[in-house]
Symmetry: C2
Subunit: 360 residues, 2 copies
C-alpha cells in the first residue's frame, strides 16, 4: 500500500515572508530579553577593562542599527561610540591602537567575511570583542570574546526587519547595563514589545492605502535626527531594496545644508518626529518640505506635531524617548512591503541580493 | 563738471561664480601651503597632549571632508578619527569625556552656531580644540585653541568647491605632520596643485557634452571607497544642490548590501576608481552596475581599469594614493556645474539655500 502523497507545500505569495517577520517582532524582542544576563555580563566586562570607546561594525541594516548605538552609548554610560571603518583596517591595513575599545560586530548570519576579519584584527589590537549575531555557532562568534545572541529567530526574508529591531534593542540593552541601568531598560523593552503587538495590526490596515499613492515615486528623502537617524537609514534602505526608490536618509540639519534645494512636488519626504530634544529641528525641516510643495509623510510618536502633513502615521509613545526607534521603524517596514507590491515587485525577492552577502 | 558714470558691473551669468571657483582650486591649494608651519605646530600640540582620538564636526561639504579625515588620520599617524555627532552633545547634552581627543571643527564661515557650541563644549570636556576655517576672525576661531586657516579665499558660490578641496588637503596635512611626514606631504600637495592646473581645463572641455546626456536624470548612485568615499559624498551633494538629483553616496560594500537591487537602465551610477587597495571592490561593484543595465560613468586615476564604462573621465595619478581625492572630485564638480545648466538651473543659486547656513 503506497502512502498518500503529502500535500504540496504552498509557495508563499509576494511579500508573505517579509510580512510574517514584521509581525514576529514583538516575540523576537521578548526572546532577546531572555538573554539579559549575558548582556549584563558583557557590559560589566567592558567596564572592568575600561573599554569605553565603542567601535561598531556591520553592513546594511546592521550598520544602520550601529547609528543608534552612537546615541545609546553616548546618552546612557556617556561612552564615545562610532561606526568604525572596516575598510581602514581590513583593506588598507591601518594599525590602530584599540586598548580601551570595545569592538562590537553586528551580523545576522555571523558569516560576513570582512566583519569576521575586522574582529580578528581588533582583538589582536587590544579591543574587547563582542559578537551580536543570530548564530552563536558562526565563524564570527568563534572569533569574539563575548557572544550575545540576537535571538531574532530564523530570518528568511532578504530585507531584514526583526533582526534590525533586535540589534537596536541589543545595543540599547548593552549600553544601559554599562550605565548600571539595565534592569529598568529591560522592563521598558517589555512595554515596547506590548506596544508593538498593538500597533502592527493597526498599521497593517492603514499603510497599504497610503503606499498606493506612491506607486510611481522614484526618489524620496527620509529625515530623522539623533537616535531616529538610525530609523531614517533603515527605512531608506528598505525602500531602496524592495521598492527600487532612491531614498536618501538625512538628519534634519544635513537636509537644511544642501538637499533641501532638490525638493519639488515630485520628491516626497518621510519624516520621523519623536518627543525628544531633536523635535524642533525636525518640525522646522518639515516646514521647509511643505514650503517646497513636496508631499510630506509624518511618522513617529510626535507625528501629530508636524503641521500640514499629507499623511500621518502615528506610533505609540514608549516609556523613554531612547526607545522610540523600536516603534517608529514599523510604519516604514510596512510601507516598503506595501509599496513594493503596488509597484509590482516581490518584496521577498529583491533583484540581485542574497540573504548572506559575501561581497567584500 | 560731473564725473562720468562708472560702467555698470555686469551681473554674472548662470554658473559663472561656481566655474570661477572650480578654476581657482590650484591657487587655493598653494595658498594653504603657505600656512604649513601652523599645521605643524597644531599637530605637535595634539601629539604632546596625547590627543589622538580625532573628533571632526562640520555640515555639508565640511562633513564630507571629515570622511576623508578618517582615512588620513588612520593611515598616517594611526589615530582613530570619527565624524562626531554634534546633535549628541549640543542638543541632547551628552557629557562625553574628551581628554585624549582633538576636536576639529570645519566651517567655511566660522559662524555655524551648533559647530561653535560643539567646540565650546568639547573644550570644557578636555579636548584640544582646532578650528579649520576661512575666517580667522570668526566666532568659531575665537573659541578654539588653535586656528588653522583654510586660505581658500572668499567663496561666493553657494556650492562649495575650493573650500572643500582645501579642507581635504588641510586634514591630510595635519595628519601627515602628526605622523612626522608633513614635509613630504606638503611637497606632494604642490605636485597635485600642478596636476589640478593641467586637468581642469581639459575636463572643462570634455565634461559638458557628457553631462548633456543626463539632462532628464532624477536619481544616481555615486560609489567611492576608502578615502574616495569623501569624494562620493561630495559629488552626490553637488548633484543634489545644483541639479536636484537624488544622488546617493555609497561605499562599494554598502552598494552590494542592498542598493544594488534598485538599479535599472534609468538609474545611472558614477564610480570613483583609484589605484589603491580598494580598487578590486570598486571594479566588482562597477561590474554589477553593468549587469543591471545601468549607465556607468568611471572617474578617478584608475578609471581606465573599469571595463565597459559608458563614459570615462580619467584624472591624473598623484604622487601618493592618499592624495587622489583632491583630483577625483573635479570631474564631479564640473559635471554638476554643466548638468545644472543643461537642466535649465542656475548652479550659483540653488533653491532655498544661503551661503552661511544658520539652521540648527
Amino acid at each position: 500500500v503506497s502512502s498518500p502523497e503529502p500535500a504540496p507545500a504552498r509557495e508563499p505569495g509576494p511579500g508573505e515572508k517579509l510580512l510574517a517577520e514584521i509581525r514576529e517582532q514583538p516575540q523576537a524582542l521578548l526572546a532577546l530579553l531572555e538573554h539579559e544576563a549575558e548582556y549584563a555580563r558583557a557590559a560589566a566586562a567592558a567596564r572592568d577593562r575600561g573599554a569605553t570607546t565603542v567601535r561598531m561594525v556591520g553592513h546594511g541594516s546592521s550598520d544602520n542599527a550601529a547609528a543608534y548605538g552612537i546615541y545609546a552609548f553616548g546618552l546612557l554610560p556617556g561612552w564615545t561610540a562610532l561606526r568604525d571603518s572596516i575598510t581602514l583596517s581590513v583593506y588598507y591595513g591601518a594599525e590602530l591602537a584599540m586598548a580601551g575599545s570595545t569592538a562590537i560586530a553586528l551580523s545576522q548570519s555571523g558569516q560576513t567575511p570582512d566583519v569576521v576579519e575586522y574582529v580578528e584584527r581588533a582583538r589582536r589590537s587590544g579591543a574587547f570583542t563582542v559578537a551580536l549575531t543570530n548564530d552563536a555557532g558562526s565563524e564570527l562568534a568563534g572569533h569574539a570574546e563575548a557572544v550575545l545572541p540576537l535571538a531574532a529567530g530564523a530570518e528568511r526574508s532578504i530585507a531584514a526587519t526583526k533582526t534590525y529591531l533586535n540589534e537596536v534593542a541589543a545595543l540599547g540593552l548593552l549600553a544601559a547595563h554599562a550605565a548600571g541601568r539595565g534592569r529598568v531598560f529591560a522592563e521598558q523593552l517589555r512595554v515596547v514589545a506590548d506596544q508593538l503587538g498593538q500597533v502592527i495590526p493597526t498599521l497593517e490596515r492603514t499603510v497599504p492605502q497610503i503606499a498606493l499613492a506612491f506607486t510611481f515615486v522614484g526618489r524620496m528623502f527620509v529625515i530623522g535626527r539623533g537616535p531616529e537617524f538610525a530609523t531614517a537609514r533603515e527605512i531608506a534602505l528598505k525602500l531602496l531594496e524592495t521598492c527600487r526608490i532612491a531614498a536618501e536618509p538625512l538628519t534634519a540639519t544635513a537636509f537644511a545644508h544642501g538637499p533641501v534645494a532638490a525638493l519639488d512636488p515630485l520628491f516626497p519626504v518621510w519624516t520621523i518626529a519623536s518627543h525628544d530634544d531633536s523635535l524642533p529641528a525636525v518640525v522646522e525641516a518639515a516646514g521647509r518640505v511643505r514650503e517646497a510643495g513636496a508631499t510630506l509623510i509624518a511618522t513617529g510618536d510626535a507625528a501629530d506635531t508636524i503641521g500640514n502633513a499629507d499623511y500621518v502615521l502615528q506610533t505609540p509613545k514608549p516609556p523613554s524617548p531612547l526607545l522610540s526607534p523600536l516603534l517608529s521603524v514599523v510604519p516604514g517596514q510596512l510601507f516598503a512591503w506595501a509599496l513594493a507590491r503596488a509597484k509590482g515587485l516581490d518584496p521577498d525577492r529583491p533583484e540581485g541580493l542574497a540573504k548572506v552577502t559575501l561581497a567584500r
